[in-house]
């Protein structure tokens, strides 16, 4: 059943949903896009952050977004540790290539999943906040507040990360290490420390993104499996390492998914992300916003 009203609704919700996808993908855009680390545990880190937010909200009544901000420093430290562990056990020995690096992060993801189950059980968990469960009414259209929150936070994160990577010394160093690690070493900088810092930033971003995840929908320990395909799809489609590209690619994906879901049938929706990815890679192998190497 087609109507312009329904199409407009789908586009608006798609933009908001896309912003949410961007927020949960930005960390991966740094770790995988810029650092070339096969970080398949990214969605598991995200779910872990959601549970930390749940804990603060449930036991101390902390607002989920504030809880996301509070855990950010801890996640930064967790990121520093995780990268150091990966570097010492795989990268330094040159055994990070191919499936071995992926196996390391799969192992981490599995451990996180089991730890969450042991601590919180297998049931779904959600948070309470004034903006969860309410909608903003514009004429006949109703927009869930939780998606508006995702939109605002994703936009803010994208702007902050773009500015950080382009205007600060450390940000430029991160971009440099992504382009030519050896050249950076010749200039006297330690690329490993820069990569470790960048991985810390990527993980810290997940603190906020994890808050959004549990604001948008309830979480359960194995939710990471739902997001692994989508987040990698967004980052690769954007062009590895582009923050604004990640936002745009995620919005394109969100709109396409929602329009298909609303107007053409829900069964087709999961195929959309990968069909679009294949289409983009066929036309622009470097992604929508990537530069040719």
């Amino acid at each position: 059943m087609f109507s312009f009203e329904l199409l407009l609704d789908a586009v608006v919700i798609g933009v908001l949903l896309g912003c949410f996808y961007a927020a949960v993908s930005l960390g991966l855009s740094i770790s995988f896009g810029l650092l070339d680390v096969p970080h398949v545990a990214h969605p598991a880190f995200l779910v872990l952050a959601s549970y930390a937010v749940y804990f603060l909200n449930e036991h101390y009544g902390v607002d989920p977004l504030l809880a996301g901000l509070l855990i950010t420093p801890l996640f930064f430290l967790f990121g520093l540790f995780a990268y150091r562990l990966y570097y010492e056990t795989f990268e330094r020995r040159g055994s990070d290539a191919g499936v071995r690096g992926i196996a390391f992060f799969f192992g981490i993801a599995f451990i996180i999943e089991v730890l969450i189950i042991m601590q919180f059980g297998v049931d779904q968990r959600s948070v309470t906040a004034d903006y969860v469960g309410k909608a903003w009414r514009i004429g006949e259209m109703r927009i869930p507040f939780r998606l508006v929150v995702a939109f605002v936070v994703a936009a803010a994160l994208t702007i902050l990360l773009t500015l950080y990577l382009s205007r600060t010394f450390m940000g430029r160093a991160i971009r440099a290490v992504a382009q030519d690690q050896e050249a950076l070493r010749l200039m006297g900088a330690n690329p490993i420390r820069i990569k470790q810092w960048a991985f810390g930033i990527a993980t810290a971003v997940l603190g906020i993104a994890g808050a959004l995840l549990i604001i948008v929908a309830p979480v359960e320990p194995t939710l990471d499996r739902t997001y692994i395909g989508r987040t990698f799809c967004v980052v690769v489609m954007a062009g590895l390492g582009s923050m604004s590209g990640t936002l745009v690619a995620a919005i394109i994906l969100g709109v396409a998914e929602t329009v298909v879901l609303t107007l053409f049938g829900a069964s087709w929706a999961p195929a959309i992300s990968f069909a679009m990815l294949l289409g983009v890679l066929a036309v622009r192998p470097q992604g929508l916003f990537g530069r040719r190497s």
Binding site: L17, I117, K134, P218, L261, T262
Partner: protein, 414 residues
Amino acid sequence: MKRRTLLGGTIAVAVLGLTTAAIGQQAPIKIGMSMAQTGGLAGGGKASLLGIEVWRDDVNARGGLLGRKVELVVYDDKSSASETPAIYSKLLDVDKVDILFAPYATVPTAPLMPLVKQRGMLLMGNFSFQVNSKVGHDMWFNNAPWGPADSWASSFLDLGQKAGGKTIALLAADQEFAQNLAKTAREVATKLGMQVVFDQAYPPSTVEFSGILRALKAAKPDIVYVASYPPDSAGILRAVNEIGIGDNVKLFGGGMVGLQFGTVMENLGSLLNGVVNYNTWLPEPQMYNDGTKAFFEAYTKRAVEAKVDPLGYYLAPYGYANGQMIEQAIKAVGSLDQKALAKYLREKTHKTIVGSITFAADGEWKETGVVQAQFRGIKDKNIEQFRSPGKQVILFPAKMKSGDLITPFEAARK
């Protein structure tokens, strides 16, 4: 004389000791199963397993079966259909179990049906839906109160029709269980002369349901029949609360899995009000049988420690009842012969904590025991409220009825 008495006594004690040791040393009766302990079905799987474990401890406290202890051999199937055939092959060939219990739910059970039939094993089902309809295994006994295939949908759509509903929207997860429900709902709708104005299957990975519900709302149905799995049910109800479903909807719900679990109900709180959904056991006076109260006392004590559903109404008593039925069969037959046990299970009526159970030829319950109940007066963040009667008013079946339907749906939500 004294020496003889002493000798005789010594021999008697030794013989008695040896006999006792022999019984104690007899290999236990192994009951093998996989159970979802991780993944989307884990909430139900863990509660079901705890119900079975309570039975195991009870039966062992009574001296076991055939003079042997009962032991459970359980593997996590991760809620995945791809895991179960290999697990059940291992249970049969490596662990050499004596009895098989099926995993919780339709999706993990369906792929192991051909294997079990080929090996000629009895299988006690655990809340599957119509997994034997095409396989035709004559040693399948599904302990789930669904009854005849169409009774689930008929009970819901009958209520809708009596409320004046003429059009129906179907929203179902794109997987075995939900699609089976949707199929029977289509058939029942046709039989009742209802028009299906919306019929969609959504993928299990769907994150946001606002878009689907907008399309559903635009179709202006009178009745909305939802067949969803736990992660989706919460998302659907949230979206309903935010964007509305339309004033013309008289009845909403039907087949939403998840709305029976304590933590999900606690999280959704007042969003549940007005929803009419299926259930298998509720704390209404008419649903208690011999042993039900004692079971829930034992379950509730262990549930907190085991971090499983604190209420356990949906699956746990049926796990216990599965044990009760196999216990009755083994005691009556006096052996573990699969065909003899199956014959007993097929021909007799079994008294359990969830009521008397008789199986039809296809291995399903002969009569439906599913109730359709409407959530009423639910408050946010309070799990204890669900232990009181009256929070889920039973509308179907007539013999269990505890109230009348409040309609339309928007009025019932207030």
